[in-house]
Every structure is written in C-alpha cells, then in structure tokens.
C-alpha cells in the first residue's frame, strides 16, 4: 500500500512538473528568435536600427491637426512626433510606427493616425512626422516604437523611444493651436513651413 502510494505521488508530481514546464516553454507559434530586437532611447538620442539611425527631434500635441487641407479633431489628444531617419547602408523607409503606454495599450497606424515619411538613401536625412491620437491619461508613460517594415517586424530592429511627456503636457496640449503636418522631406535644408495644407493667405493660390 505504501509503495503504491509513493509511486502514485511521484507519478503525479512528474506529470504536474511536466505540464508546468510545457506551459512555460514557447509553443509552436511563439518564435523568440523572430521577435524584433528593441533598442531603447529618449528624445534626441540617435538610435541604431541596423540599416539606419532614427532620432526623435520634437514632440508636440494638440487636439487638431491639419493635413491635405482637412482638419482632424480628436476626442483625445493628437501626439505629433517629428523624427529624422538617416540610412547607413541602403535605402531605408520607416513604415512601422505605434504608440504604447505602461498599461499595455497600443495605438497603431490605424484610423486617422498616420506616418508622413519618405525613404532615406544612405547618408541622406529624411525628415518625418508621425501623428497618433490617444487619451490624455496615456501621456505620462507614452513610448513611440519605430521600425523599418510595417508588414512584418520579425527579424528586424525596432526603436523604442520614451517621449518624456507629463500630465502638465496633456493640459497644455488640450489648449494648443491646430498643427499643420509638414510634408516629409529629404536633405539638410531647414524645414520651413512647407506644410501639407492649402495656402492660408486666403488669396486662392496654393502655397
């Protein structure tokens, strides 16, 4: 009776351990080798994405953005991030962008959110703008993730940038004026006011 019980208990113990291990190990669908390689940084840091570097230049916010002559009004806040991409080896587009907060919420390039960017030839800076609408309570832990391919971020490097926003920023953004999203541009030229909107001189001519 004693031996049987012991054997049974050991057997159960092994089964339990086995199923615990099974749950802990990655299954068929998980592919740890294919997870994007995340490189973290802050505003102003140049982050290496294997074939290019990305640098967040400026973070702004407002309730209204203008693009292609239309105004987009958010029930939350538009977070607008200006960034620079400089390819090192080969032309690099940045087509993946998303914002995430500490609660695991993610706002992607879906709906009215957009990434106005252009591919960067090696050594030639591309100046880009991504704008995403989020609820104000997301700002204090908001991070921007950028990567090269939007179709598939596996095997790729991804930049994760702490945007450094606070609740005070949320309040300021709520009363900020409308922001005209600039067209993406290449080169070292100063950016000026070449925005994606109609002429605002009111004389009927496009700028």
């Amino acid at each position: 009776m004693g031996r049987g019980l012991t054997t049974g208990l050991v057997g159960l113990g092994l089964l339990a351990t086995g199923s615990l291990l099974q749950g802990w190990l990655p299954d068929d669908d998980a592919d740890p080798g294919a997870e994007p390689h995340v490189r973290s940084g802050g505003v102003g840091d140049r982050i290496d994405l294997r074939t290019a570097t990305v640098t967040v230049d400026e973070v702004l916010g407002t309730t209204r953005v203008e693009q292609y002559g239309s105004e987009l009004v958010s029930p939350g806040l538009w977070v607008v991030v200006r960034y620079t991409v400089v390819a090192t080896e080969e032309n690099t587009p940045i087509t993946f962008a998303e914002l995430g907060d500490a609660d695991g919420r993610v706002w992607g390039l879906v709906g009215r959110n957009a990434n106005a960017c252009t591919e960067s030839p090696p050594g030639l800076a591309a100046h880009c703008t991504v704008f995403v609408e989020v609820p104000p309570d997301a700002l204090p832990t908001l991070q921007l993730r950028l990567a090269r391919l939007s179709r598939d971020t596996r095997f790729d490097a991804m930049a994760e940038i702490d945007l450094g926003l606070t609740r005070a920023d949320a309040e300021a953004f709520a009363t900020a004026p409308a922001y005209a999203v600039p067209a993406p541009s290449l080169g070292d030229d100063d950016l000026g006011d070449d925005d994606l909107g109609d002429d605002d001189l009111g004389d009927g001519e496009a700028s």
Partner: protein, 198 residues
Amino acid sequence: MRWRWLLVLPVALALVLVATASRLQVFWWPEQLHDVTTGSQGAPLEVSDAWEDAEGHEQRRDLTVTLLEVVPATQVEGFSGPEPLVPVAGSAVWEVRLRLEVDPEVPLGGCEVSLVDTRGREAAAAGMMLGESSVPGPTCEPEGRTGPQYDGSRLEGDRPRPPTYAVSVLVVTDDDAVPDRVRLWWEAPDVAEISVRD
C-alpha cells in the same frame, strides 16, 4: 559505457543548428541578389534573367546592357517638360545612362537599379520628392514605347519598343557618394553588376 552517450550531444547540437538554419533558407536567402553577372562600363554585357509568369512557368529574358555613363543629373521631368534640378543641401542626383539591346516582345517592366558607392553603400533608384523636384522611379523602357506587360497586355497608346535604345535612370544619394558600381535587376536572385569607370 554510459559516458559514450555524451558523444551524441555535439551531434544533436549540430543538428539543431542546421534545423534552425532552415529559416535562413526559406525566408532570407531567396530574397538576396546572389546570382551576379558582372561587367564594366562601356562593355556590352549579356544578361539572362529568369522570371515566373502568371501560371508559374519559368521564362527567361535575354538582353544586352551597356552602362554608358554615370553623371550628375541636371534636370528632371516636370509637369510641362524638363525642369532644372534645384540642388538640395546634403544630396546628389545621378543620371545612370544604359543602352539596352533586347527583343521588343520581351517584358521589361518593374526593373530595379541601384548605385553602389566606393564605401559599399547602395542607393536605390526610387520615386521621391527632393526639395521641389519629383524624382521618378526607375524604368528600363523609353517613354511611350513599351513592350508587353507580364500578363501579355500592352499599354494603351504606346508604340512598339525599338530593339536598341538608351534610358536614363535617376538615383538620389548623399553628397559624399562616389559611384562605384551600377546594379540592375528584376527579381532576386539574378542581378547584373557593372563597374563604373574612374
């Protein structure tokens, strides 16, 4: 005798490595341009390039390409004709002139061109805005004179393509780039690589 089982370990490890390397074979290698035909500027280069038609049959296109010159571009096609290229700080635009000799019935749509510089950086020909200029993407057929599309149809209003002609492809680089090689391809893995004469 039991320790002999330890010898299985390195074999097992090697097998694991090979098995995971299959991912390289399935995903990465076929996308790389590794079937290279090399040539040099001024010398006609015979290129034979495999492609797959809509039914999955393999076809070949045979052509002779000559790299005529790689020079700084001075103008770009605007809305109403050629416009001078206004320089943008930090950038350079190159005109890659190619002569192609190929049967007018061979489809040549979707060609890709890149300029590799002396540092090994590769700038691809691609449509993009550079300052106020709209730089077009690469094309290997003369304007208004195209061969068949891949599904056999033709562009409305186009005249037949001549058997020999020259095309210009514009490539945007930074202002440090010194052109070293021109690459021309349609699909991986075949690529023609032609060195630029000093």
